[in-house]
Structure formats: structure tokens, C-alpha cells
Symmetry: C2
Subunit: 434 residues, 2 copies
């Protein structure tokens, strides 16, 4: 009988995964164990994901970064997605999500799980939907068992966490309709479930069968990632009745998962004005009993397609500073197309910048030291050290090399008039005179 990380922690057992996380994050192992037992830290490590390097998500740990990859009906080939997986890992992602909706979803997932040393998340309803359309003619013809079978299959394959939209209940949809909304439902999983519920006039099977799903999660130690199906898709919908009604549901579902010994994270918005982000983070932490918070963005404006990795990094920094534990990247292709390799790299690096800017504030061990070492390298005009310390050494090197003669101490912006050189000369000299 396997135990989840949470069950092990509650039994006083220190797992190998806990040891690695505690060592890498410089956290006392007993503090970590306590937090895993209480659920404020999740270690997403499916017992069947054999080559996984374990990471923890939550209280006191560094902010984690996820990259979404996977095929789509327009780009169904799995090969390029493995390339993106490798790019995401090389750029420093702690996790990828396989969002495949192409022809052969099983094959994509197997390939990604086989190659991934980082956490792998899935969204089972995507595969269930694609299968229902193929085999039954429409998303609304999907059966409850279709859904459960897909969850079990993906769990058995080794998915470390799963986005499951259990909180989209009929009362949430009714509240959305009563209060009105500009963009209605923009989450894909949320839209499938909403369509299904409205057509079938039945409540959400992911909610009704929650205990069965928890049994599957417990069996393989899949971390439940409670999806926010009603997340706001534009600033004007942020922090509205539908979103908060669903969040109340999610808070209740967190407790039920913990009661079953299942690890759980909660997913969050979306598109949110900058001044509402802190409130959203604090509300989630309060209503969801300090469960780890996994956020997409938030995007702080709707008007920047092509630059949404940046609108998300702005919101993501604010979110992580105020309690978000895990940032899902957004790429420059968001709202426009499936990301390509460059988009994946840009998305990961920019999200790591947001995570790191927040980790400095959170006091995560090592975060401030990294910046201080860069400052010292700059003061010494030690370019090699600067390049090595850069969050993306390749890009920094290329940009410098492209526009500076080799061996110069300054850069081509200041040229002969480098502030650091001048001050080192005169301030250094004066200090010697003292």
C-alpha cells in the first residue's frame, strides 16, 4: 500500500523526495515535513513518474515556474513538443503541463513523461473531450465514466499533478448568469464542463464524483490542482461573483482532499487589474486554508497580445509577493497562436524573473545573494562573472558580443564615459587619501 507524501508526513516518515526538497531549498527537514502534513506544501511526485527530480510547491519554498506545452488540432505532431520540453527544462522550468489536444494524446503524454525530469501536469478533461467528440460526436455526449477513466489512465501513466475543474457547479454558473459577465468562461476545461452541464442539465461530474477522483489521486499520489474554470478572461470580469463563488467551492474541496490524504493546489486567475492582485492572493489563502496557490499570470492588461509574457510577469511578481507559490508561464503567443520554441524559452525566462523578484521579497534562501554577486561583478567590471550570473547567459552574451569590441571593459552605451570606471578612479583614490 503506497502512501502519498502527505500521508507519509503525517505518519512521521521522511521520504526521499522530502530530503531532496529540504536540502535544495535549505529548509529544515522537520519544518518541511510538518508543512507537507498540513498541506501548505505539496510535493508533486507521482509514484509512476520514475525519472522525476522532485520539487515542492508552497510555504517558504522558492516560487516555482510551469511551462505549458502539448499538441493542438492545428499542430498535432508530438515531436516538436518534446523539443519544447527540453527548451523549458534548459531555461529553468520546474514543471511542464501537457495540454495536448492533437490526434494522439496518449503518445504525446507518454513521450513527455518519459523525457521529463521536472513535474508533469495534465488536464484530463482535454483528452476526455477530444475522445468524446471523436467517438460520440460532441463534447456534451461525454459520459461521467469517460472522464473518470481518463483521469485514472493519466494518473497511472505518471502525471504528477492534474488540473481538474471540480469547482464549476451549477450554482456558480447561475451566479455568473445572474450577475452578468463580459467574457463568460475562458478556461477551456471550464468551457467544456459548462457546455456539458448546460446541455445535459446535470451538475458537474467532476464535483459529483470528487471522492472517486480523490481515490485515484491517493493511489498514485497525484496532486490535485483545483482548476479555476470561471477565472476572469478580462480585467472587467476580475474578482466578480462567479470567480469568488467558485473559489468558495474550491476551499471546501481542499479540505476534502486533505481529509483523504491527497495533496492539493488551487489555481487562480487570469486577467486582474494590478490593484486587485494582492486581494485575490490573500482571499485565496484565507478561503483555501493556505493551500499552495498556482496562478496563470495574472495579466494586468487585456490590450497587449504579443507581449502577454510581460503583462503576466508584472502580475506574477505582484501575485508571488502576496502569496502565490507557483507561476504558470504565459508566452508571447498567448491569445494569438500555439507557442513556438522561442516563445517557450521567452515565457520560462520571463516567468523566472517574476518568481525571482518575488523570492527576493519573500526572503527565499539564496535569492538576495544572487543579486549581490551580480552587483559585485558589475562594480569590478568583471564581464565574465556577469555573464555567468545572468538568468539567461546565452542571451546576455549574444547581446553584448553583437555590439561591443572584444576585451573592452565598458560597454558601448557609455563607451569612454563609464560611470563605474570614473567612480572607481576618483572615489577609490580619495578613500586611499583618507
Amino acid at each position: 500500500m503506497t502512501m502519498t507524501q502527505m500521508q507519509a508526513a503525517r505518519a512521521g516518515k521522511i521520504t526521499d523526495e522530502m530530503k531532496i526538497v529540504a536540502q535544495e531549498e535549505k529548509m529544515d527537514i522537520n519544518v518541511l515535513k510538518e508543512r507537507v502534513a498540513n498541506g501548505t506544501i505539496a510535493i508533486c511526485a507521482n509514484i509512476n513518474h520514475k525519472n522525476l527530480h522532485p520539487y515542492g510547491v508552497g510555504e517558504g519554498l522558492c516560487t516555482k515556474v510551469n511551462a505549458n506545452i502539448g499538441t493542438s488540432s492545428a499542430f498535432p505532431d508530438p515531436e516538436p513538443e518534446i523539443e519544447k520540453l527540453n527548451i523549458a527544462i534548459a531555461a529553468g522550468a520546474h514543471s511542464v503541463m501537457d495540454l495536448s489536444t492533437g490526434n494522439n494524446i496518449d503518445a504525446s503524454r507518454h513521450a513527455i513523461l518519459e523525457h521529463s525530469t521536472v513535474m508533469v501536469g495534465t488536464v484530463p478533461i482535454y483528452q476526455a473531450t477530444v475522445t468524446a467528440i471523436k467517438e460520440r460526436g460532441a463534447v456534451v455526449k461525454m459520459t461521467e465514466d469517460d472522464l473518470l477513466h481518463t483521469i485514472e489512465k493519466q494518473a497511472k501513466d505518471g502525471a504528477d499533478f492534474m488540473t481538474i475543474h471540480c469547482g464549476v457547479t451549477m450554482d456558480v454558473i447561475n451566479r455568473m448568469r445572474a450577475e452578468g459577465r463580459y467574457m463568460d468562461v475562458v478556461s477551456r476545461g471550464g468551457s467544456f464542463i459548462t457546455g456539458w452541464m448546460l446541455y445535459n442539465e446535470k451538475n458537474n461530474p467532476l464535483y459529483e464524483r470528487y471522492d472517486d477522483i480523490l481515490d485515484i489521486c491517493a493511489k498514485y499520489d497525484v496532486t490535485m490542482s483545483l482548476g479555476d474554470g470561471l477565472r476572469p478572461g478580462c480585467l472587467a470580469d476580475a474578482t466578480d461573483h462567479a470567480q469568488i463563488q467558485e473559489l468558495l467551492n474550491l476551499g471546501g474541496l481542499v479540505k476534502r482532499a486533505w481529509d483523504r490524504g491527497v495533496q492539493v493546489m488551487v489555481e487562480g486567475p487570469g486577467h486582474v487589474p494590478f490593484d486587485q492582485i494582492a486581494t485575490n492572493m490573500k482571499l485565496q489563502k484565507s478561503l483555501c486554508h493556505n493551500a499552495p496557490f498556482y496562478v496563470l499570470g495574472p495579466l494586468v492588461t487585456d490590450v497587449a497580445p504579443g507581449y502577454d509574457h510581460i503583462t503576466a510577469a508584472i502580475g506574477g511578481t505582484m501575485a508571488a509577493v502576496n502569496g502565490a507559490d507557483f507561476l504558470c508561464y504565459v508566452t508571447p503567443a498567448e491569445h494569438l497562436a500555439l507557442p513556438n520554441n522561442q516563445d517557450v524559452k521567452d515565457g520560462v525566462i520571463v516567468t523566472r524573473i517574476a518568481a525571482h523578484a518575488a523570492d527576493i521579497v519573500k526572503g527565499v534562501p539564496g535569492a538576495r545573494e544572487w543579486d549581490l554577486n551580480m552587483a559585485k561583478a558589475r562594480k569590478q567590471l568583471d564581464w565574465e562573472a556577469q555573464m555567468k550570473l545572468a538568468i539567461d547567459p546565452q542571451t546576455a552574451r549574444e547581446k553584448r558580443a553583437s555590439r561591443n569590441p572584444e576585451g573592452t571593459t565598458a560597454c558601448s552605451m557609455c563607451g569612454d564615459y563609464c560611470a563605474v570606471e570614473i567612480v572607481n578612479k576618483y572615489l577609490g583614490a580619495t578613500i586611499e587619501h583618507c
Copy 2:
């Protein structure tokens, strides 16, 4: 006898520039006039900058964006800088600063002023320094009159605002040395002045001759932009004794400028941890009597060379939400090289994103409506409207066109499984049934 905008406002006169600003920003003309009179809004419009479209900077107005351009000793040709000027204006900058330190600084400035319809700022000490090195052999051999003559020359040419580092006094330098600092002085102007003061054992001539400088500013209505010569160059130096000591000086200099009828802005940091940004903005507003605040970044981490347009956009949003009125762009080339054309465009767009995200929070007229119109276009899957509303339509169009067959309603990320299409179908249908 010409009047500055401030003198005119105080005399109850409504200038043409005030009319344009009030109309474009949807601000009551008398409110605007009052704020110009009080100094909380500056309209940077040199009487000799003939083709200028006037902009206001400050209380209740949209957050402005500046692009730094200009030659360097490594790239002394003025032609490419005019190209950058045009790129910056096309991308939506409200202002450029000519930071030229190349061979022929007069020629660069004349060309930029001639072509620029947006505000032009300069940093006279750059030219004074380059001239001193050429004519006298070292920056420390510069005379006070060299400095004053350069200021007068650039004012007469039409510079709308000037960065002048009047606040770097000997007590500020002494405080820096007593308290210690990792990066000392990273502002170029600050470093020239510091080197000069230490070598000559004299106080800052820009401080000592402040009244003479104000006379020049009053004559041409140059807005004084009080430079922060001791701005922190790394997170570890942020909000330290040297920075705040200089800020105290700047607050005193603001009042002296206003007493003389000279418009004034104050420049701010720099490299600042995310959680210290709000404090910095509020401290400046309090110590500088609500004078408009013009900030560089702030950069929220030191470790991202190649991505500093993004570290600055994160900090810039937080800064503008908390009171900054004017954001100086940072480009991807920061800390590495002189920016090229693409860097200039990226820098302006990303800084406009930060400014706009803040303007939504500030309640600037029209800001929220822009986002709402985008939300409506997305809901209707109206791609042409989405492209037109994008902050950078060209980039959005290119990204979409590169990876989507023409005429598709969805995008290649979701393909056949578009959330918006599904919800429009089922939620729309159900609402009709009601």
C-alpha cells in the same frame, strides 16, 4: 518677456499648450491650470522647440513614457539616432532624451530637436564632460562656466527638460562613504560630478550655481528634471542613506525652482526590490512636495541582463500605481550595449504596457475602456478588432499570421476546442431558452 507655463498659470492665463493637454487628457482646463500653477503638473515645452506637440506630466494625467537615444563614443554617427527617434515616436513614446556623447553632440541634438514632435530632454553635463576631456584633458578639469554655458546652449536650442544633478552635494557623498555602498555611483552624470568634486575638493557647481541655472530655465521655459546622481545601482543599495540624503536636497531644490516660476520634475531610482517601491514613491511625493516623479525602472532584480526592459516594466507598474508620473524606458540592451532599433521599439512598448497597467488603476480617462473594448472583441472572436486594439498591432498581426491559416475564427492554440466558441454556443443557447 516670456512666461513659463507655471508663471502663466499663476497669472491666470491659459496657454495653447494647456488647452491641448486638457483636451487630450479629458481634464478640466481650470483643474489643469491650477496644477501647473502649483507645480504638480509640468508641461515640458521649451519656447524654442517649434514643432512640439505638448504633453503634461503629473497629477491625474496618463503616465508618460520616455525613450533614451543618442550617440556614444563607440557609435558616434547621428543618423541612426534619428531613426531611433522615429521608431520611438511611432511606438508611442511621449518623450526622448538625447544622451549623446559621440563626436558631434551639437549636431545630434539639433537633428533630434528638429525632427522631434515629442518632448526632448537632455543631460548637459554629458556634453560639458566630453568637451572638458577634449579641451582640457580630463573631466575634473571642467570649469563651472563650462557647465553653465552648456546648459544655456542646450536651453536655447530648445531642450524641453534637462536632467541636472544638483542634489549631489559633499554631505551626500560623505554620507555614502560613511555608510558604505556596494555599487557607489552608477549614474553617469552623478559619477562625473562626484569625480569632479573629489578631485577639486569643492562642492557641486550645479548646486552652488542653482540660481543661475534657474534663470536659464525660466528664460526658455526649460523644465528642471532634478537628477538622482546617487540612485542605487543594485538592490542592496536601495533606499539607503546616500539616496535619501540626496532626495532631501532635491525636495529643497523643488521649492526654490517653484519660487522662481520654473517647472520641475524629480528623478528616481534605479534598482529597487519590489517591496520597497511603494515606499520610495510615497517618500518622494512627501519630501518633494508632490512634484512630478520621473523614474528609471525601477529594476526589481539585478540578474537579468538582456531582459531589463521587463525587470523595469515590473517595477515601473508598481511605481506608477504608487505615484510615479513619468517612466523612462529601459531596453533589453541595458547593462550590455547601446540599444539598436529593435531594442528601442521593445523598450517603448513594454514601458507603455507598464504605464497603461498603472493608468487603469489610477483611473485615467479612457484606460479601462481600451481593455473593455478588447474583451468585447475577444468575446466576438473579432480578430480584426483585436489586432487594431493591440498596443502593438504589427507584432500581434505577425504572430497570428505566422501560425494560423487565414480566416480561422479560433487560434492554433485551441484549434477545434476554443473555449469562447463552446461557451458562446451552449451558454448563448441556454440564455435564449430562459
